[in-house]
Structure formats: structure tokens, C-alpha cells
Symmetry: C2
Subunit: 404 residues, 2 copies
Amino acid sequence: MIDIAVLGYGTIGSGVVEVLKINGDSINKRAGDEINIKYVLDIREFPGDPVMEVLVHDINTILDDPDVKIVVEVMGGINPAYSFVKDALLKGKSVVTSNKELVAKHGAELLDIAKENNLNFLFEASVGGGIPIIRPLNQSLTADEIVEITGILNGTTNYILSKMSDEGIGFEAALKDAQDLGYAERDPSADVEGHDACRKIAILSSLAYGMQVDFEDIYTEGITNISDKDISYAKALNAKIKLFASSIREEDKGVYAMVAPVMIKANHPLYSVNDVFNGIFVRGNVIGDVMFYGSGAGKLPTASAVVADVVDIAKHLNKNIWTIWSNKKLDLESVDLMKHRFFVRLVKDKRAQDRINELFGDVEWVPEVVENELGFITPEITEKDMMDKKGLIDGFLGSIRVRF
Amino acid sequence: MIDIAVLGYGTIGSGVVEVLKINGDSINKRAGDEINIKYVLDIREFPGDPVMEVLVHDINTILDDPDVKIVVEVMGGINPAYSFVKDALLKGKSVVTSNKELVAKHGAELLDIAKENNLNFLFEASVGGGIPIIRPLNQSLTADEIVEITGILNGTTNYILSKMSDEGIGFEAALKDAQDLGYAERDPSADVEGHDACRKIAILSSLAYGMQVDFEDIYTEGITNISDKDISYAKALNAKIKLFASSIREEDKGVYAMVAPVMIKANHPLYSVNDVFNGIFVRGNVIGDVMFYGSGAGKLPTASAVVADVVDIAKHLNKNIWTIWSNKKLDLESVDLMKHRFFVRLVKDKRAQDRINELFGDVEWVPEVVENELGFITPEITEKDMMDKKGLIDGFLGSIRVRF
């Protein structure tokens, strides 16, 4: 029997308890031993819930119990999760977490501690919910140099953008719908401003390139400026607008990373990733393009990934599963030099087309979509160039990066 | 240093040599040791190729060399691959293979031998080329009961169907094009009759359900009967025709498995898997739906998966990576009881619609696509029912299963 402790009895924590109950037999078979929840830690009480039998309020009960081999941290946030996880590792317990903030900020250090102590620190559920992506990056794509990771990593924003596109409604209305359905929080800024996706691409990039990518360094734009008019233009172009979290390694240059809305067409593997689903596209220098798709959030899918990590640790109780993520900082290249085509909207006037052609050279004009507006797509130019030229466009209304 | 031997210097074998050359540094870092190709076995000579330095013609040179820790079998076919692999395992060498025939037929036995000897037998490249699917099934989806695996597992047939759809050409013309491009063999029957996909779904099903699924038991239809007219109907329905290799577990019943063309619409995650790409859709009882996409064949993508297995073995030299695939046979349910909707084409005549309505009850008529023909979609009925009713349809021209 392998005793585990679950820190936090919220959505994911109760999902973990549920998954171990529903699929206990096959999970134990795959783990090669019985997984037993000895403790659940929460500050709250849950009268009437069977969890009361194992509920504790003091982390030390868990840390001081040598029988507990695996600690499952599903509380979220940095404090007190960080100190609980670190203490657990220092007490000889392996740790599974779904906590993207914790992993993005302290992943390298916690992996080091796990390694030094011949333990494991696994975090499959921290990115992409149930989608297997951390383990494939670590263990399946090991023959490749990763040259790009691009993900739709935030289900809330993907739902909002899908809803705007499907129903022709604006951002605010779609956000309200997402909030009503429980897909978005009351304070939706972490999602809609791109911060959630930013932490996730920081984790994936750190793993892909083996060095610490600080999420604070990643240029991040959210979707709050996307309007129903932008969506109409996208439709006219047979395109969709998606919030991409991306890191790209260019040979002899370095790694660019960015979170921003982009327009893509049906030939992009992430085009069909709609609603709350997530998708992660990976390009390797020998494997070519691969893509992983599934539920990026939700109680049971996320719990499935957490429990799979528990099973993996059960099979590696005295063996560190090697993860290459050094604490050496990877200095990202300035996005100023990153190149995109840009879709641009502006107020229509008689001389606008001439001025735009003068400014950008040959552009691709979009057939009229909105009255008294013009839309066009620039040639490929750098971010810096675009930033400079934006200021020179009379009646500039907005721009969106284009990947086609 | 870890010495390995590569059996077969064909497309994949030379790809393995190339991948280890291109990405040697990062591969060695991830393996934690230097991977060294000590031998390449082939009956041929390769004058002028650097491989000559390590080329051998006698398998015993490899089997008798205790330095060789990992044997990479990329010859294909059952003989002599089976005896080479078995002998290698019995001599204490772990084995990586890309050989779907070998794995489908002897996977359970070879896994057992590897386990008994504390070695590993890995075969990521045997299904889906470079796409990580075997390792995710074994190690990431361990918290789930798998209820469905459906794959587009054969790039050749997917290319042919995509080409027929994109260019409105017939099967024979698309096949010839695939042959000209080297995507299809001179004798294309293993691909177009579905046998290749059949072996692959047998492997995936054995892993998903943990028991031996014999490929001979799987009902298999190819794409040779798909005509340009069928494609036109599919287009009229906003659908595509794909060769699906599928196994579905129904609670309290059992497992159905089938390889056959199906019509799907854009809401199916495999709808966008076009050309030579492969995609594998997996449904678990807690994770929900996940999908894996990438190059299903090709020299470097396949070699990437082979080398990733080598890296995994290098990290588990004295530890068996547990794979649940017992040699106990899983008796598949008869597909007679499997249910689908069916698209049906027939010769148009005055009373045809009345007779069809009488036979099937409420059907969905497809607006006219081909002159003097009628097309409709049946309600959900069993295979047996459909088989019986086919014989009663005057002017019956063909039918295709529908998944929407």
C-alpha cells in the first residue's frame, strides 16, 4: 500500500478523490500497488462528506508521517503551496502538483530538490489540464530539438473567442456567458489578460529548452481588445482568432516567446480547437509537427492527469525521473525583432489606401466588412516596425497578428 | 557510453543513424550517457556510406557482444525480426522496434520476456510514426478506463482520400498519385485494404485494455470501394470520408473493433487530419476526449520515435518499464451488434423513396448529388440489420458508415 496525502479539497482535490474511487482497481493495477488516501488537508470542514474520515487541518500531521510517500498539492497559488511542497520533498516525500503558478516560479528549484533526494516532482496537470503534454515533452520528444511550441492553453479565453465567433456577440457578452457557466471567474483578469497562458507557456518552454524561462519576461497580450468587428473580419478571411501562447527558437538567434491573439486559417493544426478545449502544437527538428488536444481544465480531466502522475511516482518510488530544466536563466530575445504579418483596421477615407500602400508596400486588402472601415494585412514585418508604423496610420483602429 | 545495434539500414534504420547524428548532443544529454551505434546489420553493402565502418552481416556478432545493451529492430516483417528480437532479449539486451507486424503478433510474449529479464521492449514507432501514443497510453492515461480509441492510422489511405476530396478525382487516380510520390507501395494492398491500420489498432487496443487483441479478429474493410461519387455526397453533407481504425468498449458488453471508412463532420476531432498525417482520438472515462496528431510515417519522424525509445531505455537500463498487455486473449464482441448510421446510395426510381421509408423508417434524404441516384442516411441500426436490409434495396449502389 502506498499512502498519499491530498493538499486542498477544492475542485481538483475532490476530483482526485473521485477518480481514485471510480477507477481504483485499474489504477492500483497500473501502479503495481494500492494507492491509499491517508490524509486530505483543508482549512475547511466538510460535514457529511466521507472525506471527514481523513481530513486534517495541520500540514505537520502529513509532513511528520513517514508512511506518506506522495503528497498531492492541488491548492493553487504560491503561498503556502510552495513551502508545503518544499517541506514535503525535504521530508522525503515525492510531490504531484497541478499548480501552474508554483511550477512556473519554482519548478527548477523543486525539481532539483527532488533529484537530490531521489524523489519525484511531477506536474502534468499544471498545463493543459488532462492533456498529456509534460510527460511527452520530457520522455517522448527526447530525440528532437524543439523549435516551436504554440498552445491554446487557456480554456476560458478560447471559449469566449469561440462564442464571439459562433454567435456574433461582443467580448463583454461572451465573458458574461462564460462567467454564468462557471468557465470564467468573477475577476477574469488572469485569464482574459493572458497571464494564465503566460505561466503555462513559460513551463513548456523551460522544459523544451531545458533552462529557466521566467514568465515575467514573456510579452503578454490578452483578448480584451478583440471586438466583434475583428471577428467579422476574421470570418471574411476564413480565419479564426485564437489566443496563442508561443515560443519559437530561431537558429543562431534565440528564443522568442509571446502570448497574443492571432488569426489562423484551417490549415493550422490548432484551428479546430474550439470552446473550452486546449491544444498544444509542437514542432521538432526531426519529428516535424505534432499536436495534442483535449480538455484543458475541468475537475475530472485535471484529476486524471494528477492521478496519472501519482501512478508514475508509485512506479518510480526510489528513482528520480529525470527532467531537464536547469535553474540557469534563458534570456529571451526581444520580441521587437519577431516577425509577423498583421491584420489592421482603420477608418476609411479617400486617400487611406494610398497612404497605407506608401507605408507598407504591397498589402492584402480585405473586401469591405464594416461600413466606413478598411482592413488589410501587412507583409511580414518586425514588431518594432509595426509599432512604429501604427503611430503613422491615420484613423488606426486596431491590429491583430496573422499566421497565414 | 551505451552501445546500440541497429538491425536494418533501410529508410528507418538510416533515419535513426541520421537523427543520432543531427541531435547527438541533446540526445546524449537527455539519455544521461553517450549513445553509440556500434553495429548496423544489413545483408547489403553500402559502398561509400560511413555506415560501412559499423556494418555487419551476421546477427551473432551483435548477439554475442555483451557491450551491446540496446538492439533497434527496424527491418519490418515477422521473419527474421521475431527471432532476432527474441534472441536479443534472451541475451540480456533491451529492444526498440518500429515493426507493427511483430508487435501486433508477438508483443505480449516479447514484453513478458523483457519483464522477466528486467529489460525493456519498447515500440513507440510501431503506431502513428512519430506521434507519441504508446507512451501516453502506458504512462499518461493510467488513471482512466479507456472506452474508445479511434485512429486515422494509415497515412497512405488518408492521403488518397484527401486527394480524392481536394481534387475530385477517383480512387485509382489518387492511388497512382500516391505511388508516384512514394506514399504508396507498388502493391498497395496492405494499406488500401486496411491491413496496416488493423495491426495498429490491435496494438493500441491491447495496450488500452491490457489483454491480447488479435488483429485477425478485427473486422476490416479498406477504401477500395470508395468512389468519387461517395466523395461528392460527403461534400454535399459537409462531411469527409476517413479510414477509421476503432475499438470501443461498451459497458456490460465488451469491446468492438473495426477498420472501415466512415463519414465524419467538422465537430469530430479527427476531421482536420488530412494528407499523410495521422491522428489518434482516445476517450477515457475521466479524462474525456484527447487527441494526438502528427506525421504517421516518414523517415525522420519515425526515427525520432525510435530514438526516443532508445533514450527511455538508456534511462531505465536495469529497470523494466511496466506495460500491461497480458497474453490472455480478449474476445472481441461480434460487430453484428455494433450500431452505426449508414449513408446509402441507390438507383433512383419512382417508388424508391417509398420503399426505403418502408424498410428503414425515418431516413435523412441527401439533396440530389448524382443524376439518377438517391442518397440517404439511415437511423442508427446494427451491422446485422444493415447487412440484411442491403439485400432488400433495389438498385443498391453502396453504403458507408456515418459518425454524426
